[in-house]
Amino acid sequence: MSVHPRKILLALGALVAFAVPALAQTTLTITCRCVAGGVNDAEVQWLQNYVIPNFEKAMADKGTPVKVALTQFGGTDEALKQQYALDLSVHKGYDVMAFDGFWIPEFASGGLLKPLETVAGSAVAGWDGWSHISTGIQDIMAYDGHRYGIANGTDVRMIFYRKDILQKAGVPNADAWQPTSWQDILDTAQMVKKAMPDSYPLQIDAGTNMGEATTLQGYYMLILGTGEQPFMNGKWVVKSQGILDTLNFYKKIYVDTKVGDQRVQLVKDGRNQSFANFRDGVTSMLVESDWFYRSVTKPGSEFAVANRDQVMGWAKMPAEKPGMGVRGQSFVTASGGTGWVLNPNTAHPAEAWDLLAFMNGKAARDDFETYQPTISARDDVPVPNNPFLTNTAKTLLPLTVSRPNNDAYAKVSEQIQLMTENVVSGQMSPQQAMDAYAAAVTQIVGADNTVDLLKTASN
């Protein structure tokens, strides 16, 4: 049997005719640290059930059909950041990326990200959503006066505690526990430890394996209670009484009294183990952001606390001593925020911006709240009936502090993690660890940008 060449040509022609519209359709890629049924499950559900179908429909109605492909990233935050940096450095990567706000200065100053206006043009400035997001919250995703992305919202940090366990250990007022100093926290932890010698009542993140959680949930929550911050008046504090007090407190917890689980700070998968410890009651006090309530311990998730509404409470993080905290506060907290950015290398900047704007529109953010109530960036998106978030936001947002919007921050943060690891592992004294930190930070930012508060105090 022979095939006439003309038939082949016809067949090819037909193929091309089908292929051209298929090729013409734009595909946008999007990614986040989110896995269906795993970490940040709500993001996946929201993207797959609401954002992608509705956005595709809206674009098709406009006559510019697009497809959106979601890639679920299951690794750690640090691994995702590493992936982004490597992708962007070779001008590749996803069109729209979930981004932690504190990564922005480092990526922007390195030229890996470009301001939204540069990527997507004048459509950005004309977006009606900006008027519903306060400049403070816009700044989460900004650097040096330019917006690089849109923030979803913000968060606050506190001590989560187990009422049932504190009660069992005989802690007075266990239902409404509120320590007013570091010593209070330590005393409570020791009471629990005495009642349950195998437990590790207190978890304040430390070490390099916990990454930024160590810096923000651990170190920041302590150093703010000494009245200091890592970056003050335009300089990085490399030596101070506050740093020493903070490190000594870490040492008390993990080395001297063992009310905290030293192993968990040092092993590779420590953060998840600390969550498991809290779920199992091995740990009864844990410092985390509201994400711990919204996502980690949510009923049905891996670390869900049984009977959560009865047994889990929250307390404000006290300063070292009353009134000793930053700005003279007696209680402290720190905030970060996450959002989405545009890839400057995207082949479809206009459509990518359309997607970003759609995701941050009122309708989409309202829909997200049905999956996971959160402190939204938009002032027209209320938290649906959720006393926990309403209360924590009202109590803690006025007290909060953000990390410096500085391109050296991420590198200094790594040194902070290292400094705490040196102390909680017992291999350095607080003084030695601080000296090593001072040397390393001076190397990173230059001596002119550092300050030694111990020296200035004695002069």
């Binding site: 390195g110 390099t208 040092l266 092993v267 291999q427």
Partner: protein, 302 residues
């Protein structure tokens, strides 16, 4: 000068070599010079050093060898010491000695024990890294690990392998992992010894130790040196312990390859990562030269 006899004219020979040479230049020589250049800059992947890297002279090198921090955990000197222990105990003593012992024990014997042991050793050698690392993490786990189940079954206390004795753990791991190579190499070396030598020795009443010392070892010397060169270089550069310990706890298992990775690809500090890479390369070169000169001398005296 005597005329060289070759099958092909020189020009044709070079033509055939050209594609391979082009690959070597593109993927080995050029990157090498690039790394050398980068090691004198403050180049980074993120932050200001990414857009405007500049020449910093010997700063990266001087910082590595800064005496006040050299031996601190997580610093270059401390990492070198850990690597030295790791190479000495897991490669030279562990893999080479155990490999030689296994090869010698089963020399000129055929039994199911030999088949089983050799097969198991080879299996340990050929499984992909990630699978092996996963298995060993489970094996060494403090709470549920197989090894601790065995230890407690014998009435001993649990050992915190990865936190208490992390260096020993990765040494055990690497010995287990790599012994097969030395065993195979030594087995084939032993196979090349003429049986008559050993039979003569037996007739004259030599015992096993004397046969090993006076006949076997001298005859397989060059194989031993080759084996030592290869496994030292491999172990010095291996990255697999990272998959088990991540370099921790507190940098106690951070061998130089993991240190390089952390500086260059976690902290994105390409300048100082390249400087470490350059020094690693010099150390590798030194190892290779020492071994090669040993090899030459021994061949000369034979």
């Amino acid at each position: 000068m005597p005329e060289r006899r070759t099958i092909l004219p020189l020009r044709t020979g070079l033509l055939f070599l050209a594609p391979a040479a082009a690959f070597v230049v593109a993927f080995i020589v050029l990157p090498f010079f690039w790394v050398a250049v980068v090691s004198f800059t403050n180049r980074s992947l993120t932050g200001l050093g990414a857009l405007h890297p500049h020449f910093v002279g010997l700063t990266n090198y001087l910082r590595l060898f800064n005496p006040s921090t050299f031996l601190q955990p997580g610093q270059f000197g401390s990492s070198l010491l850990i690597t030295a222990q790791f190479v000495l105990f897991s490669a030279l003593i562990g893999q080479a000695a155990l490999g030689l012992l296994l090869a010698w024990l089963f020399y000129r014997r055929e039994s199911w024990v030999k088949e089983t042991v050799q097969t198991l050793a080879i299996v340990a050698w050929i499984i992909p890294d990630v699978v092996v690392a996963f298995a060993w993490s489970a094996f060494l786990d403090y709470g549920q690990g197989t090894l601790n189940h065995i230890v407690t079954a014998f009435g001993f206390h649990r050992v915190d392998w990865l936190l208490g004795v992390p260096v020993l753990s990765i040494i055990l791991f690497n010995t287990w992992r790599g012994t097969a190579f030395s065993m195979l190499l030594f087995s084939s070396a032993l196979g090349s010894i003429p049986p008559s030598h050993l039979e003569t020795a037996e007739v004259t009443g030599a015992n096993a130790w004397q046969k090993l010392r006076d006949i076997i070892l001298p005859l397989i010397r060059t194989h031993i040196v080759t084996d030592l060169i290869l496994i030292t270089l491999w172990t010095f550069n291996t990255f697999t312990p990272f998959l088990i310990t991540g370099g921790g706890p507190a940098f106690r298992t951070e061998v130089v390859s993991i240190l390089t990775y952390r500086i260059a690809f976690k902290y994105f500090n390409f300048g100082s990562g390249s400087a470490i890479g350059m020094i690693m390369m010099l150390i590798n070169l030194a190892f290779a030269l020492i071994y090669l000169s040993l090899l030459r001398r021994r061949e000369g005296t034979r």
